[in-house]
């Protein structure tokens, strides 16, 4: 087991290096003068040169790469030209917001996806099943950015039930910083009004973000359930007079755990990536919006930082999922 983890960690390290290389190459393909951005439009050439030196942009690219990788080892992701802060500091500020959104969406996806999948399986090939499957495919096909705008217009602009954007009302002071996730921090501080306000802001973006994940969870659970119900032991259990409902609930829930977990592992990084769109629509100050606004402005250190952060996340989550798999499914442990 330890050996397995060690090997995985080494591979992860190697992959990270590959990722850094890719992002570095990508950010330097086009001729660009990021220092001009920091210097401002009126700056003279020698003022731009001052900035270039300050950000180390005057050095040759290979040297910049070595410097960047060296910095990574000490947790330094470079400096954003737009915000002037270190990318690490910015990520520390924006990542909790994204994490909050993704966790909320995941929770929603599981809470809705698992039961719907089971329901769909039990009523296989009947109308509710068809409807559910159609909805599942629809949710994947909906352009999140477009549907997000429509929901925003309906619930925020027309009905005025929910706020249009942001994480908190301006009249609501943020809770003391603990995790950076407002929902968690406000509970920790016992500030229920703040919690409610944060939740009202998070509902729409989390909902839109959850759709593709919800659809996956639904499909997997349906398939798993159909398989389980056809299994001999289920038939046997039912022959012994145990009610269908009980069989379904007990067996299915147990069986649903593994594939749902796998989906979460698979979808995790993907959802972090989707925040690029959802956060843009809802003005949610997370890493997605950070990446987009930096990329549009031509400031690439933040984009590289976000890419790396998501990559690391993906790798770690998959490591955890693999390990959990081993714990939950003894058969796998024996073979690996």
């Amino acid at each position: 087991m330890a050996l397995f983890v060690l090997r995985r960690l080494m591979l992860t390290g190697l992959m990270l290096f590959g990722l850094v290389l890719i992002t570095f190459v990508v950010s330097n393909v086009a001729p660009s003068d990021p220092a001009a951005l920091a210097a401002g439009p009126d700056a003279t050439r020698d003022m731009v040169e001052t900035i270039r030196k300050e950000y180390g942009l005057d050095r040759p690219l290979p040297e910049q790469f070595v410097h960047y990788v060296g910095g990574l080892l000490t947790g330094d992701l470079g400096r954003s030209i737009v915000t002037t802060r270190s990318v690490m500091e910015d990520l520390g500020r924006y990542f909790p917001a994204t994490l909050e959104l993704v966790l909320l969406s995941m929770t929603f996806g599981v809470l809705v996806g698992v039961p719907l999948g089971m329901l769909s399986a039990v009523l296989k090939n009947r109308a509710p099943d068809h409807a559910t499957r159609f909805v599942a495919v629809s949710l994947v096909a909906l352009p999140a950015f477009w549907f997000g705008i429509l929901l925003q217009l309906l619930f925020s602009v027309q009905l005025e039930w929910l706020p249009t954007s942001g994480r908190l009302d301006i009249a609501t002071p943020p809770p003391p910083f603990v995790t950076g996730m407002l929902l968690v921090d406000s509970v920790l501080a016992g500030q229920w009004a703040t919690f409610a306000d944060a939740l009202r802001h998070a509902v729409l973006p989390a909902l839109v973000l959850s759709f593709p994940c919800l659809a996956s969870i639904l499909r997997v659970n349906r398939a798993e359930m159909i398989e389980v119900m056809a299994a001999d032991y289920v038939t046997a259990a039912r022959a012994h007079g145990i009610s269908r409902l009980r069989v379904v609930c007990v067996l299915a829930l147990r069986n649903a755990m593994l594939p749902t977990l796998a989906i979460i592992g698979l979808r995790w990084g993907w959802m972090l990536g989707s925040t690029v769109l959802v956060e843009t629509v809802f003005d949610w100050p997370g890493i997605g919006l950070y990446a987009v606004s930096s990329a549009i402005a031509g400031d690439f250190k933040p984009v590289m930082g976000v890419t790396l952060l998501i990559g690391v996340n993906f790798m770690i989550i998959n490591l955890i999922v693999d390990l959990l798999y081993g714990v939950l499914d003894p058969r796998l442990r024996a073979t690996s």
């Binding site: 003279t44 301006i170 009249a171 229920w192 409610a196 031509g298």
Partner: protein, 534 residues
């Protein structure tokens, strides 16, 4: 609930608790309240990453800087005037090389320290030594050692050459408290790291909350040394700048009364809302010139006749229509609020016949080539103008390739004549009323700057511009600038576009808005504003 600002919404939410708050859609709640005083809430799309007044400026940053800091003088009114501020008066020697400023006696920084000559000297030195942001304005004429605190209330600047326009730059150099800054210096950075997020000013407001990408909150300084023009009873309690990136979201917030004023309003929204109940517009002629700069050294646009043909084919009406009428065509390379501006007769307007004549005289009499038009990624108006350009050049059989690029890429390309695009959309906001700022756009020294992407080299223009910037006689200076303007129009290094109006929408209880073209696009002066409502 936790802070002293209690909005009505906040109170409701607190009262109803978690479940109730979901349904609490309270429309048309106005300004925030703080006892009897009001907090003015404003929304715009641009963050304020840096507070440091010597390091960076753009409209949103300056809005905050101008509120937190004071300068020796201040731009107010339309047409713009320079009024004394920290300096109660100033004078220069006849050669206009030595400038002396006499400070007011009662100004003090937010921490209580007096604003003295040393603070002024330190601030100018700091701006020059950092060599960022505002430094370009004075670095060629002013050495850090040439600033002297003569006594506690007198500062003297000795310039390396005559500079009649020196005073026009002074309002843009804000004064910081050297004691606070020096206490926070790290690695010889003149406190740059610290001033990025903290302030050491003497202005009418101080920073309470600074979240660069989302909210900036200011508190009014109750005993501001210069007093409050609206009277102490009416003055604001504070100001909140909310960064809301989407224009549609900003509009919705204004309509719902979540914010009191918005800027960067799309033309169509403005039309829709300007007469809406409870909302009033501010709509003023702008000061930001729009031009389509052409590369005068390379490709078809190197040919003056091609440039003239393009300028005569351009559909100028479309420029106005794209702004729903809220724009004025340029009648000179200079915006008309710049001293020395003259309307140049014969500045090109759409005339296809003339355009074809010019094209016939060029090396490409029948067109048949494609030009690249580059604009800054993410900007809508230049994209639409690109479409108008594409349309305008169709009759000449010239194709247009509309390309959006990030600012750093565009600048990197434009800095060299060989790589500069055929055509680039360029907005220029003169930071002050010195005509040199705008005339310098056409000087050889502009090469490498973003407005110098035309890479025009003309000895006559260079000579006139160089002579004008040191000419102390106003009439002679204006004559030189008139020559520059005519010559630039003759050489057509760019399609002279328009001045788009600057516009804000606000709730009708907002008072004290004063327009001054010298502010940057969405910037306004917060100091005289107040909320007139019970």
């Amino acid at each position: 609930m936790q802070g002293p600002i209690i909005g009505r919404r906040g109170a409701i939410a607190a009262g109803l608790g978690a479940a109730g708050a979901f349904a609490a859609g309270s429309p048309a709640r106005a300004f925030e309240r703080d006892g009897n005083r009001k907090i003015f809430v404003f929304a715009g799309g641009q963050p304020v990453p840096v507070l440091d007044p010597h390091v960076r400026y753009d409209w949103s940053t300056r809005l905050i800087q101008q509120s937190v800091y004071d300068a020796l003088a201040k731009y107010v009114n339309d047409p713009p005037q320079i009024v004394p501020w920290l300096a109660e008066r100033w004078e220069s020697n006849p050669a206009q090389t030595v400038w002396t400023f006499h400070l007011v006696r009662n100004a003090k920084f937010h921490n209580g320290d007096p604003v003295d000559a040393e603070a002024v000297r330190y601030s100018f030195e700091r701006g020059l030594r950092l060599n960022k942001g505002v430094a370009w304005m004075l670095k060629d004429v002013l050495a850090p050692e040439a600033i002297k605190a003569v006594d506690a209330h007198t500062v003297q600047f000795t310039l390396t050459r005559a500079m009649p326009s020196f005073i026009t730059y002074v309002p843009l150099w804000f004064i910081v408290n050297p004691k606070q800054v020096q206490a926070n210096v790290a690695n010889n950075d003149y406190g740059e790291g610290w001033l990025t997020r903290n302030e050491a000013g003497s202005g009418p407001f101080k920073v309470r909350r600074f979240e660069p990408q989302s909210v900036i909150q200011l508190d009014a300084v109750a005993d501001y040394w210069k007093g409050w023009p609206q009277g102490d009873q009416r003055r604001l309690s504070g100001f909140i700048y909310r960064i809301v990136r989407e224009p549609a979201a900003r509009r919705a917030m204004l309509q719902r009364g979540e914010v009191d004023m918005i800027t960067e309003v799309p033309a169509d929204d403005f039309e829709l809302l300007k007469n809406a109940r409870g909302i009033k517009p501010e709509d003023h002629k702008g000061f930001t010139t729009f031009a389509i700069t052409m590369n005068t050294t390379k490709g078809p646009t190197a040919d003056l006749n091609v440039r003239k043909a393009i300028a005569h084919a351009m559909d100028y009406d479309a420029l106005i229509q794209i702004h729903n009428g809220a724009a004025t065509l340029l009648d000179s390379p200079f915006p008309d609020a710049i001293p020395g501006h003259v309307a140049v007769p014969g500045i090109p307007r759409r005339n296809l016949e003339k355009a074809r004549e010019f094209l016939a005289k060029s090396a490409h009499p029948n067109g048949g080539f494609e030009l690249e038009y580059v604009h800054v990624q993410g900007l809508e108006d230049p994209r639409r103008i690109g479409l108008a350009l594409l349309n305008s050049l169709q009759p000449l059989n010239i194709k247009v390739n509309i390309v959006a690029q990030p600012w750093p890429t565009m600048v990197a390309r434009g800095s060299k004549a060989e790589t500069a695009p055929d055509m680039v959309s360029v907005y220029v906001t003169p930071v002050c009323t010195d005509p040199d700022v705008i005339a310098g756009k056409y000087h050889t020294r502009a090469h490498g700057q973003f407005w110098g992407m035309h890479h025009l080299t003309d000895a006559q223009i260079d000579g006139w511009v160089d002579a004008a910037r040191v000419e102390t006689d106003e009439a002679k200076r204006n004559a030189l600038y008139a020559d520059v303007q005519k010559r630039v129009v003759d050489l057509q290094p760019e399609i002279f576009g328009m001045l788009a109006n600057r516009r804000w929408l606000m709730r009708d209880y907002l008072r004290g808005f004063q327009y001054c073209p010298l502010r940057l696009t969405g910037e306004f002066d917060l100091y005289p504003m107040w909320v007139d409502a019970a």
